[in-house]
C-alpha cells in the first residue's frame, strides 16, 4: 500500500460566506478527479494556472477539506484522517511548496526548520543526533553545510529550494508532492535540481507527483503525464506515449505541447475565447478547441466528456478523440 495513490470522484469547492460558511456563491475548483498512482511512479501534473493543480496536491495531503468517494494515499483514507493515523500519514507523505520565499519561516534558521522536521514525529531524538541527520540531509540535496546557519531571507533561490526539498525528505516519505519545485530559477540550476530530485526519487523508490506548467521540464523527468484543465483531468498518458510515440490526444494537451516546443507554429493572430462558466455542463475547452465548433457538435456543448481509456494506460476526456478512435 505504501507509495500508492487512489483517487475516486474527488470534488472541491471554494467560497461560501456567513457565520458557518453555508451561504453565498461557491466556485467549483476540482470536479470528478479520478486516477491512481503506483509505487515508484513520477507523475507530472500539468495545466495552465488556475486549473487546480496545486489544489489537487493540497487535497491529496489532506491540507484542505474536500468531498470524494474514496481518496487513499499510502493506504490512509484522507477524508477521515485523525489522531495517530494522521501522525503516521504526515510522516509518509510530504509536499514541496510552490513559493520558497514564504514556505520557510523567515524568523528561524534553515537548520532549525530541518531539525523541527526531524524531531516533530519523534521528540525523543536528541538535538545532537537531529543535527547529524540534518547534515546528512544537506549533503543529500547538495547544500553546503555552512549555509544551514543562515536565515532564509539571506539564502539564494536555489538554496531555499534545496532546504525546502530537504525538509520534505526529512521524514523519509513514500509519497511526495512537488509543487513547481524549480520555477523561477536559472536554467542550469533548474536542470541540476531536477536531476537531483529524480535521482533521489529513484533511489528511495518513492512515488512523486510533480506539479508543473512547463512541459519541457516534465519531459525531462516524468514517467506519466496528467493534464488538467479547468478543474478536471482531461488526459492521463504515459510519458513515453505523450512525448515520444503518437503524442497526446486531447486538443488541449496538443496545444500545450506545441506551445512548449514549437511556439512559433502554433498561433496566428486570434482572439482569446472566454471559457464557458464552470459547472455549466459540456466540455470546458470547447470554445478554444480547434476540432469542434460549439453550434455543430451537440455533445461537446451539452455533455461533459468522461475520462475514458482509449488505449491501455491512456485515458482521455474528449468526445472528438473517442470518435476518432472509434473510426479508426
Amino acid at each position: 500500500m505504501k507509495g500508492t495513490v487512489q483517487v475516486e470522484h474527488l470534488y472541491k469547492e471554494f467560497g461560501g460566506s456567513g457565520l458557518f460558511g453555508k451561504w453565498g456563491d461557491k466556485t467549483p475548483a476540482l470536479e470528478d478527479i479520478n486516477f491512481t498512482l503506483e509505487k515508484g511512479e513520477l507523475a507530472a501534473l500539468v495545466g495552465e494556472s488556475g486549473s487546480g493543480k496545486t489544489t489537487l496536491g493540497r487535497c491529496l495531503l489532506g491540507l484542505i477539506k474536500f468531498e470524494s468517494r474514496k481518496v487513499k494515499v499510502n493506504g490512509y483514507d484522507i477524508a477521515s484522517l485523525g489522531g495517530a493515523d494522521e501522525k503516521a500519514f504526515r510522516m509518509s507523505a510530504q509536499m514541496v511548496f510552490q513559493n520558497p520565499f514564504s514556505s520557510l519561516n523567515p524568523a528561524f534558521k534553515a537548520r532549525d526548520a530541518l531539525v523541527e522536521a526531524i524531531r516533530v514525529h519523534d521528540p525523543s531524538i536528541s538535538r545532537e543526533k537531529a543535527n547529524d541527520e540534518v547534515e546528512k540531509l544537506a549533503a543529500l540535496v547538495q547544500l553546503p553545510i555552512d549555509r544551514l546557519n543562515e536565515y532564509p531571507p539571506s539564502l539564494s533561490g536555489g538554496e531555499k529550494r534545496r532546504v525546502v526539498f530537504a525538509r520534505a525528505l526529512a521524514t523519509n516519505p513514500d509519497f511526495v508532492v512537488t509543487d513547481e519545485p524549480v520555477s523561477g530559477l536559472d536554467q542550469p540550476i533548474q536542470a541540476q535540481l531536477l536531476d537531483l530530485m529524480r535521482k533521489i526519487q529513484r533511489r528511495q523508490n518513492s512515488t512523486m507527483l510533480f506539479i508543473s506548467h512547463d512541459l519541457r521540464l516534465v519531459r525531462f523527468v516524468a514517467t506519466r503525464v496528467l493534464v488538467m484543465h479547468r478543474g478536471r483531468i482531461v488526459e492521463d498518458a504515459p510519458a513515453e506515449i505523450f512525448f515520444h510515440q503518437q503524442g497526446p490526444s486531447h486538443p488541449y494537451s496538443r496545444e500545450l505541447l506545441e506551445s512548449a516546443f514549437h511556439p512559433d507554429q502554433l498561433f496566428g493572430p486570434q482572439v482569446q475565447q472566454s471559457h464557458p462558466e464552470r459547472g455549466s455542463g459540456g466540455c470546458s475547452f470547447r470554445n478554444r478547441c480547434k476540432f469542434t465548433s460549439t453550434e455543430m457538435d451537440q455533445p461537446c456543448a451539452t455533455m461533459t466528456p468522461p475520462l475514458l481509456e482509449i488505449k491501455s494506460n491512456h485515458r482521455v476526456a474528449c468526445h472528438w478523440c473517442r470518435n476518432q478512435e472509434a473510426d479508426r
Binding site: F20, R58, L61, L63, M95, S102, S103, A107, T171
Partner: protein
C-alpha cells in the same frame, strides 16, 4: 510639490538614534528598578512608614532626599512605592497577556463562529472607556490595588489581541504555515512558536511596555485624586506622596512634591521609549 521635498523611501530612523532612544528609556527605568531591588532585599535606608525625621526636613546625610511633612524618609518611601506597585503591575501584564492571547488567537484562527464571538468580546471591552471601568472596579474593590490592576490588564487585552491579529493576518497567506501543517506540526506549536514567538514577540512586548506605562498612570492618578480609590496612606505611592505634599508650593517645600513627580514622568517615559524602540526594531525587520 511635496515631491521636491527631501524624503527617503525607507523609514528614516537611523540605527544610532534607535539605540539612543532605547538607551535613554532603559536609563529612565533605572531609579524605579533600583527601588524595587532595594525594597525586595531590605536595603531601604529607613522604614518608609516610621516618623523618624524632622517634618519637611531638607536633604542631609541621614535622609538623602529629606523628609515629607510627616517626617518620613522620602527616598525610602519613593523606593517602597515602586516595590509596592510591582506585583499588581505584573498581574496587569499577566491578565492582559493571557486574555489578549486567548481572544486574539481565537479571533483570527478560531473559525467563523469562535472568531465572531471573541471579536464581539474584544469590541465590548474596547467600547468601554478604560479609565471609567477601572473607576468602577476601584469603587467596588474598595481601593484594592490587585483588583484595580487586574481591571487595567483586562481593559488592555484588546490592544494585545490587535497586535496578534495583525501579525496573524500578515502571515496567514504565507506558505510556511501550510508547510508546517503538512509536516505534522501541531496547530498549537505553529501558533505559539512560529507565529507568536517568531513574529509577534516584539509587538506584544511593546504593547506590554505601554501597558505598564498606562498602569502606572492609572495608579498614580487614582492615588493623587483621592476619594478612597487608589493606594491609601500610609502605604506609599508616588501619587499619594504628591497629594500629601501638594500644598508645599505655598510653603516653599517643593522637594516632596517634585521628586515623586519626576519619578512618575521618567518611569512613564522609560516604558514608552523602550516600547517605541521595540516597535521600530520590529518595523525594520519586517
Amino acid at each position: 510639490m511635496i515631491g521636491s521635498l527631501r524624503w527617503s523611501r525607507f523609514p528614516s530612523v537611523t540605527k544610532s538614534s534607535r539605540y539612543l532612544g532605547m538607551a535613554i528609556g532603559i536609563i529612565c527605568l533605572v531609579p524605579a528598578t533600583l527601588g524595587v531591588v532595594a525594597a525586595a532585599f531590605g536595603w531601604l535606608p529607613h522604614d518608609p512608614l516610621q516618623f523618624i525625621g524632622e517634618s519637611n526636613g531638607g536633604p542631609s546625610l541621614q535622609h538623602f532626599l529629606g523628609c515629607d511633612s510627616l517626617g518620613r524618609d522620602l527616598l525610602s518611601r519613593l523606593w517602597a512605592a515602586a516595590a509596592y506597585f510591582t506585583p499588581p503591575g505584573a498581574l496587569a501584564m499577566v491578565v492582559a497577556l493571557s486574555l489578549g492571547v486567548v481572544l486574539g488567537v481565537a479571533e483570527s484562527l478560531g473559525g467563523r463562529f469562535w472568531g465572531a464571538i471573541s471579536s464581539w468580546c474584544l469590541q465590548v471591552m474596547d467600547s468601554l472607556p478604560k479609565f471609567v471601568l477601572v473607576l468602577l472596579v476601584a469603587a467596588i474593590a474598595r481601593s484594592n490595588l490587585i483588583w484595580i490592576m487586574a481591571a487595567v490588564g483586562a481593559t488592555f487585552a484588546p490592544q494585545i489581541a490587535a497586535a496578534i491579529r495583525s501579525s496573524v493576518e500578515r502571515l496567514r497567506a504565507a506558505a510556511f504555515i501550510e508547510a508546517e501543517k503538512s509536516l505534522g506540526v501541531s496547530m498549537t506549536r505553529i501558533v505559539f512558536f512560529h507565529i507568536l514567538w517568531g513574529h509577534a514577540r516584539h509587538v506584544i512586548l511593546a504593547q506590554l511596555m505601554s501597558l505598564m506605562a498606562y498602569a502606572l498612570l492609572v495608579e498614580t492618578s487614582l492615588s493623587y485624586l483621592g476619594g478612597e480609590l487608589g493606594v491609601q496612606e500610609p502605604t506609599p505611592s508616588w501619587g499619594n506622596m504628591i497629594a500629601l505634599a501638594r500644598d508645599g508650593v505655598f510653603t516653599g517645600n517643593l522637594l516632596p512634591a517634585i521628586i515623586p513627580a519626576i519619578m512618575i514622568s521618567i518611569t512613564i517615559l522609560g516604558f514608552s521609549l523602550v516600547g517605541q524602540g521595540l516597535l521600530q526594531l520590529w518595523e525594520e525587520r519586517a
